[in-house]
Amino acid sequence: MTEPVDPKVLIVVRDLHKVYRMGEVEVHVLRGVSLKIEEGEFVAVMGPSGAGKSTFMNILGCLDYPTSGNYIFDGQKVAALNISQLAEIRNRKIGFVFQNFNLLSRMTAVENVELPLIYGGVPRRERRSRALEMLWAMGLKGRETHNPSKLSGGEQQRVAIARAIVNQPILILADEPTGNLDSGSAEEVMTIFQRLNSQGITIILVTHEADIAQYARRRLLFRDGKVVEDTAEITVGARRAVPLPEEG
């Protein structure tokens, strides 16, 4: 690393590009994204579909490598890590929450929450008690041994959040976490995110809905693979707006 990283900075991306090759055609999904996210931030990523939000999230979540550009997560250069090390980072430092919950349907709620601990090598007994604790913290007492199909959408998403945070991550990535929920459940879920954020966990969420984005303290607007608006630059006030590389 050429320059010392501010200990409070969790994420640094510099000139991030992602190109997918679909047969003959190259699809330029990210066209140079540069930004920093500090520990404890609550960021909403917005923009029309096809703007590159999901790809950006996948790269932040260490599920994918960028085609070019730098990504430094928690002081580590992600491009230098192998697939196994990425899996370990996802397991220990990142929690994922999805729009369609992505719970394993044939497992009970508590077993779903235990999953990250299994891959983290936590002993069986400790696993169970930590998973139960998380479920109870999500207000799911009495639902521990239900299968996901027996739970409401809001309950399923709370199980998913319990699973995301059971291994005490420093970052939560949520891709439209309220997209499949009624407004009541959505509010519940967002309140939980706020609470987690106040405990110091960095949260980045993708959403279409402006009222959901209200919960975040910073908003990124994506369009055509670039960040076209970043409220941090406005509110933080520093006039050093990151020059966005122009097309071509």
Binding site: N58, G61, L63, D64, I83, S84, A87, E88, R90, N91, R92, F96, F98, N102, L103, L104, R106, L115, P116, I118, Y119, G120, G121, R124, R163, N167
Partner: protein
């Protein structure tokens, strides 16, 4: 990657969620292992039966026949020349260190009569040592004694088949009198059954034993006194058989004044060789049956692979989720591999039970000799596990190479 109990527990749970599918998949391996066990058991059982029969002949035994004669250009078969004598037999016992005991016999086919029953059978004049060499106990009464020999007593011991034909199943022949060539013989014993020699030999139970001296003087006649049809020799041990054979040959050539280049005027036969030949035949049978059955085990393995491939594509999303929350490629690989191995193991265990049970039933109902050795059980089971691994590797590898992003998007 640590393969903990946890992985097995997860695999068992996953399999139990598709009970019918798992059971049908296992069935292939079950049938494979079951048929391997049963087929090899039958093959080995048949081999063991033949071996026991031949060993029952007296496993240390050597037979010495007279050579063939040529008369007017026509060559007669083995034993037609009168080359062997009582003295030869005694000399072998005396001078060959690798030989423990010898006996000799004169044979003739004749009619045996009891009351209104009669039966045509082989009359063998033998010495008392014959019983020792053949290791052949009597079922009733006693065998011929040295005293019977010395005095040429008219007593006889019946083979099981002869006894049944003359006396039926109920009457006890011991103490009764039968007529052979108009000479009355008192029955002093009945041999235990030995059955026919495997490979189309004569029925050993279809003969009557009388003292050699009695045979020579009163029944078969004394055109050539002192000559015998066959000499039996028992080597001191099984390992000494080739040595004994060599010693006997040398001694007989010397006694018969055969020049160095001349051909033997006698033939020797070694039961160990026959036994080994038969055992080899049994092994070929076992191998053939076993390999046919192995094919079905491999077919079972293909069934596992098929189902595992279906399972991988069905659970693409699950793989994506597991990867997102931190499963490494190895974790996924092991998970699917263990599933297929558990399938093949359980299938194999059931197959073992069925194979053992089925072959026992076969031997009970069909009177087939079945021999199941622990080694075969172990090999069949290990083979089943191996099938699980080999046919599980490809699907498991396919699952572990999935791209988590695409897997998560999979519907």
């Amino acid at each position: 990657m640590k393969v903990s109990l946890e992985v097995f527990r997860i695999a068992l749970r996953t399999l139990s969620q598709h009970k019918l599918r798992s059971a049908l998949t296992m069935l292939g391996v079950t049938i494979g292992v079951g048929s391997v066990i049963a087929m090899v058991g039958i093959g080995q059982g048949a081999g063991a039966m033949v071996k026991a029969q031949i060993e029952g002949l007296g496993s240390n035994m050597l037979l010495i026949f007279s050579g063939s004669t040529t008369s007017g250009g026509a060559r007669y078969g083995t034993g037609t020349a009168f080359a062997l004598t009582v003295e030869d037999a005694r000399a072998i016992a005396r001078e060959c260190p690798a030989v423990a005991v010898t006996s000799y016999a004169k044979r003739e086919t004749n009619q045996v009569v009891y009351g209104n029953q009669n039966w045509n059978t082989s009359i063998s004049g033998v010495t008392p040592e014959y019983q020792i060499i053949r290791n052949w106990p009597v079922a009733r009464g006693t065998f011929l004694t040295q005293r019977d020999m010395e005095r040429a007593v008219t007593v006889c011991v019946l083979g099981k088949k002869v006894a049944q034909n003359l006396f039926g199943l109920e009457e006890d022949p011991v103490g009764k009198t039968v007529i052979i060539k108009k000479v009355p013989f008192r029955v002093i014993g009945v041999m235990t059954p030995r059955g026919a020699i495997a490979g189309g030999g004569q029925d050993q139970d279809d003969q009557v034993f009388i003292p050699f001296t009695t045979a020579e003087w009163k029944i078969i006649g004394s055109v050539l006194p002192g000559y015998v049809n066959i000499i039996f020799a028992s080597a001191v041990s099984q390992e000494a058989i080739p040595e004994a054979e060599q010693q006997i040959k040398e001694l007989l050539r010397q006694r018969h004044h055969i020049p160095k280049e001349g051909a033997d005027d006698f033939n020797t036969m070694n039961l160990k060789d026959i036994a080994e030949m038969q055992a080899a035949t049994g092994q070929v049978l076992t191998f053939l049956l076993g390999s046919i059955a192995s094919v079905s085990l491999i077919v079972g393995g293909i069934g596992i692979m098929n189902i595992m491939l279906v399972s991988v594509s069905e659970r693409t999303r699950e793989v994506g989720i597991r990867m997102a929350i931190g499963a490494k490629r190895n974790d996924i690989l092991v998970q699917f591999l263990i599933e297929s191995v558990v399938l093949s193991c359980i299938g194999g265990l059931i197959g073992l039970a069925l194979g053992i049970g089925g072959s026992q039933l076969l031997s009970l109902l069909g009177h087939w000799p079945v021999l199941i050795s622990p080694l075969v059980i172990l090999i069949a089971f290990l083979f089943a596990v191996l099938v699980g691994v080999i046919f599980g590797i490809y699907p498991a590898n396919k699952a572990s190479k999935l791209n988590p992003i695409e897997a998560l998007r999979y519907e």
